[in-house]
Symmetry: C2
DNA sequence: CCTCTATTGTGAACACTTAAACAAAATTAT
DNA sequence: ATAATTTTGTTTAAGTGTTCACAATAGAGG
């Protein structure tokens, strides 16, 4: 809990900044201004400066920000200096796509274990990640001290699985099911509801035609 | 543009309400109060009443809301009374998972065409959806008058594809690539950045431990 | 060293979103 | 009928997030 009181809206933008700073560093850019950043990430430059200012005075007036030191600073903030292992529960259509994806290429994150009830998946390896039977889920998560889980099981079982996860100390769930999970308030749930996103997009197309995106 | 001035935050909740109302109707519930709804969808009851009030006086004091008529009302608002066809571009890991999913089971939405550059995918059918070669994308989208597209191509080509889509009249893009697309302001872009979501979740776990979810 | 220029960091205004609280109105119970 | 109860719709207030606008200040150029 090094830095406190960072607004949620700011926190959600940090990975966006982080990614673009990585791009700049790879391109050997040494410095960047909030205006330049603004164009690339499509966030108002004043908002960017305000966001950064929550963490201190990271830039230099008349100059901008030093790409490398800013990147290193955010590396710490975003826990990118240590490898974080997450688990995935439910190796179906969506779960397989996520397993197959190499999160580690952009971030210091990897999926280290997956779980499914299907007997034919148990004890196989997919994209280098071991798939365990669901019956071993709680044991493995405890042993591997996993904090964060990607949940891609059918909606009908998601609350039950979430309860099991919480009971072995999971502190965050990336929930792809449309169910609004009930969890203790010290557990973070991030909902990704793809059906809603699509419905909302259609709604915006029909009703906000003249406004700008996002 | 029947109803104007609906706040964005409200618009994003409409599909959540809609889904839960469908559940209630299937369970033969005739009426529901904002308090009951509040528990199920995890939105403050005053916020729900406020949201509904943008559309008029939909409830009855001392009684609540009539499930069926409320559902029918939102059916109109959310364009659920006509079938909307969307296209999917990029039938890779993520695209396949989405193609395979039956959006039509919950909504009046379906993916009616998919496109990919891979020759082995061209002119095949997956989950009942025809996959066309990318070279036919613009022609088909124009012919089928498709407004909304799910974009699951590699990041490196996403802007190029987006430009092609916009040039044939696409009005909304559900963008799964980490690239911030540049589009005219009458085109809606909804970004779903899975890597960011995971990074943000980890950040929240480490920094907001005592707060409540979402 | 001084001047000019660029760009930050932030106070203040504004915009949007949520939530508390309650009068008004309808239902339900007696 | 009337009273008690319920629950809406909305007023008002508080909270959160964004943007403007500019003094402060560091760097660049002479
Ligand atoms: N696939 C999509 O595009 C899409 C779109 C919108 C929403 N969703 C939601 O995402 C979730 C997953 O969707 P999907 O298409 O991947 O479903 P799926 O049926 O393909 O996969 C679910 C997997 O979970 C496994 N499973 C079931 N119970 C389990 C348990 N207790 N523990 C571990 N594994 C278990 C199943 O064996 C299966 O492999 C669903 O809730 C769905 O509503 C998916
Ligand atoms: N899979 C994941 O879990 C995941 C996670 C985070 C981000 N993403 C992002 O989602 C996007 C897609 O990811 P993926 O894993 O499905 O990639 P993928 O490589 O499996 O699929 C991309 C598909 O797009 C096709 N394609 C390439 N150029 C095309 C064009 N011009 N027109 C039509 N099709 C074209 C390719 O042939 C391929 O089938 C990427 O931008 C990726 O960064 C994916």
């Amino acid at each position: 809990m090094a830095t406190k009181k960072i607004p949620k809206a700011t926190a959600k933008r940090l990975p966006i900044y982080y990614r673009y700073l990585s791009v700049l560093l790879s391109a050997n850019k040494r410095r960047v201004s909030s205006t330049e950043l603004s164009e690339a990430v499509q966030v108002d430059s004043a908002t960017i400066r305000r966001d950064f200012s929550y963490f201190g005075e990271l830039g230099k007036r008349g100059y901008g920000y030093d790409v490398e030191s800013l990147l290193n600073f955010f590396k710490g903030i975003l826990n990118q200096d240590t490898l974080t292992s997450v688990a995935l529960v439910g190796v179906g259509a969506l779960g397989s796509a996520l397993l197959n994806y190499n999160f580690h290429q952009d971030t210091n994150l990897r999926i280290s274990a997956a779980f499914d009830t299907k007997p034919e998946l148990a004890n196989t390896v997919k994209s280098g990640i071991p798939i365990y039977p669901a019956s071993e889920m709680q044991k493995q998560i405890k042993e591997q001290q996993i904090d964060a889980v990607i949940l891609t099981v059918p909606s009908s079982t998601s609350q039950k699985v979430a309860d099991q996860l919480v009971s072995v100390g999971v502190k965050g769930i990336l929930n792809f099911t449309p169910v609004r999970l009930s969890v203790p308030k010290n557990v973070q749930v991030q909902n990704i509801d793809l059906t809603n996103e699509l419905q909302t997009l259609i709604y915006f197309i029909k009703n906000y035609a003249e406004n700008n995106p996002e």
